[in-house]
């Protein structure tokens, strides 16, 4: 791949095309090719989907507040768990990560915009139709998909029209992700400022470069699998339909070939954000930059060879089980390198505990806990016991919520002075952190106990013995959800300019290129590329 890092230009859309008289009002947002506008739209879209997915979680936890069926019928409950997963993964976390990438990557590498500005606009505007398709599926005969976010056959082959809409939504979301990834890789490889070699890129850019490669490798596989699911449903093929000689377990293999790297697609950008925040508030450079890059690459490569640890109970051969068990455990090595480096970055640093740093430390503590339960689940005999129990639910929420989501909250507080020109309300930020931290643990820590006691996931009713911890988890979930209104209020205050004016560089230890720009960052930045030494 060529790298011509001089005299930047954005393909098909020279950056000075819209320097004068760009549209205002709604048309500004519909037609924009500016990476900051598109980043903002991604972030708002992801927050809206976070609220939608959160309402589904409220429904789930309301139903599980006590034993028995009292709020929704079981079929609808299954749709709630399915759509909650799909919306949080594809609608909330992934677009949030792309939103951060859009805002930050060009500014961090000294580029005027993304490499393909128009494609960037298309990437975003594919998301709302996909979200609408997912929501519409509740209103079609048979209701929304209810077989779990993994869309396993035979349920997904037999289910109603809602599954078709879900499959189309996944196609659209996949196309959007692939276009976004192509854009990010091209931007990072070809539009870096003169002097910014790959090994001088900020860690956030590195983690996104690797994430984008992961997306390009696995999204087409998921798209292929769901296409075949569609042909099984409507065109008489039998790829996964056992009645016609197909193999339902094949779908599981293919799905998790996508699904496990997807976990790292969701978490690597969060790693990148944490790697920017910790040095800034420790007032020290990131410890072991090169080893961080290699560890991130190692995690990405290993993520391709561990998929069957999600399938230990499907009857894999013993040699296969051993391979996937040890390969999964191996991921702890590069992940451990990263955690060690983050701790070493903080070691003897001049640490201050502003809100972004609190979220980063919260991430470090809780994500590591989620990583440890992942290691426990990697042990096959243990996993056979815990398969499809609440222990697994606890594990992946520690990774996804306390991992990705906490990092995104931290990243928002870290960069919002640059985005809006207004400092956030530190008191609100800290209240938001502590309520989120406490209620998160109240919600998800008891799920470990429920799982250990044998409570299965994806059920609307349960035995009396699980009642107490479920009640506590539900109280925590409502508290966690409502705490996010504080975040919304804190962000809206910044957007309205209600707060102290942000200096160009509000954080002492921040040293990446975006902090050389005024706050808020001008509509067009780095039209003349900076020279990095």
């Amino acid at each position: 791949m060529s790298s011509v890092p001089h005299d930047h230009v954005v393909d098909g859309h020279a950056h000075d095309d819209h320097a004068h008289g760009h549209p205002t009002g709604i048309m500004r947002w519909v037609t924009t090719t500016n990476h900051k506008d598109i980043g903002t739209m991604y972030l708002w879209f992801s927050f809206i989907m976070f609220i939608v997915g959160g309402c589904m979680a409220f429904t789930i936890r309301a139903e599980l507040f006590k034993p028995g069926l009292q709020v929704v019928d079981p079929e609808f409950f299954n749709s709630m768990t399915t759509l909650h997963g799909l919306i949080m993964i594809f609608g909330a976390i992934m677009p949030a990560a792309v939103g951060f990438a859009n805002w930050q990557i060009p500014m961090m590498i000294g580029a005027p915009d993304m490499a393909f500005a128009r494609m960037n606009n298309w990437s975003f505007w594919l998301l709302p139709p996909a979200a609408i398709l997912l929501m519409l599926s509740f209103f079609v005969p048979g209701g929304a998909a209810a077989g779990g976010w993994t869309l396993y056959p035979p349920l997904s082959v037999q289910a109603g029209m809602g599954t078709d809409l879900t499959i189309f939504a996944i196609h659209i979301l996949g196309a959007s992700s692939i276009m976004g990834s192509i854009n990010i890789i091209t931007t990072l490889l070809n539009l870096r400022a003169p002097g910014m070699t790959l090994m001088k890129m900020p860690m956030f850019c590195w983690t996104w470069l690797i994430t984008a490669y992961l997306l390009i490798a696995v999204m087409p596989v998921l798209a292929g699998a769901v296409t075949m699911l569609l042909t099984d449903r409507h065109f008489g093929t039998s790829f996964f339909n056992a009645a016609g000689g197909g193999d339902p377990v094949l779908f599981q293999h293919v799905f998790w070939f996508f699904g496990h790297p997807e976990v790292y697609i969701l978490i690597l950008p969060a790693f990148g954000i944490i790697s920017q925040i910790l040095p800034a508030f420790s007032r020290k450079p990131l410890f072991g930059y090169a080893s961080m890059v290699y560890a991130t690459s190692g995690i990405a490569i290993l993520s391709f060879i561990v998929w069957a640890h999600h399938m230990f109970t499907t009857g894999l051969p013993t040699a296969g089980i051993l391979f996937f068990m040890y390969a999964t455990m191996l991921i702890a090595v590069p992940t451990g390198v990263k955690v060690f480096n983050w701790l070493a970055t903080m070691w003897k640093g001049s640490i201050t505990l502003e809100t972004p740093m609190l979220f980063a430390i919260g991430f470090l503590f809780l994500f590591t806990l989620g990583g440890f339960t992942g290691l426990i689940l990697a042990i096959t005999p243990v996993d056979v016991q815990f398969q499809d129990t609440y222990y697994v639910v606890a594990h992946f929420h520690y990774v996804m919520v306390a991992g990705s989501l906490f990092a995104f909250f931290g990243g928002t507080y870290f960069w919002i002075p640059k985005w809006t020109g207004t400092m956030y309300d530190e008191k609100l930020g800290k209240i938001h952190f502590w309520l989120s931290f406490i209620f998160f643990n109240v919600t998800f820590f008891p799920m470990h106990f429920l799982g250990l006691a044998g409570m299965p996931r994806r059920i609307p009713d349960y035995a009396q013995q699980f009642a107490d911890w479920n009640m506590i988890a539900s109280i925590g979930a409502f508290g966690f959800g409502l705490s996010q209104l504080i975040f919304l209020y804190a962000v809206l205050k910044c957007v309205r300019g209600d707060g102290a004016k942000a200096p160009a560089k509000p954080w002492d230890g921040a040293d990446t290129l975006e902090w050389t720009l005024p706050s808020p960052a001008p509509y067009h930045t780095f039209e003349t590329p900076p020279v990095v030494k």
Binding site: M1, S2, S3, V4, H6, D7, H8, V9, D11, G12, A14, A115, F116, I178, S181, I182, N183, I185, T186, L189, N190, L191, I216, A217, V218, M219, P220, V221, A223, G224, A225, T227, M228, F239, L250, V254
Partner: protein, 78 residues
């Protein structure tokens, strides 16, 4: 008067922009090709119900990418 008219585009800058656009498009085409190979290769391997087909498609694609990469590298050194 000496020197060029500042209102006219600098030919060197225009050339650099054109080269950058071409580089961007080449990168995008290569990445898109990788995605397409994974998408169609996987479906093809199942349609023909032969694991060897999948391996052949992926193997051929990897070889092709390698040949193109080596060829471009050799050309850029000339």
């Amino acid at each position: 008067m000496t020197g060029s008219d500042p209102r006219l585009p600098d030919p060197a800058a225009a050339d650099a922009k054109a080269r950058l656009r071409a580089a961007n498009r080449r990168t995008a085409a290569l990445l898109f090709a990788i995605g397409a190979v994974f998408f169609f290769g996987f479906i093809a391997s199942r349609v023909f119900a032969d694991p060897a087909t999948g391996m052949t498609v992926i193997g051929a694609a990897v070889l092709l990418f390698l040949v193109v990469a080596i060829g471009r590298n050799l050309r850029s050194r000339q």
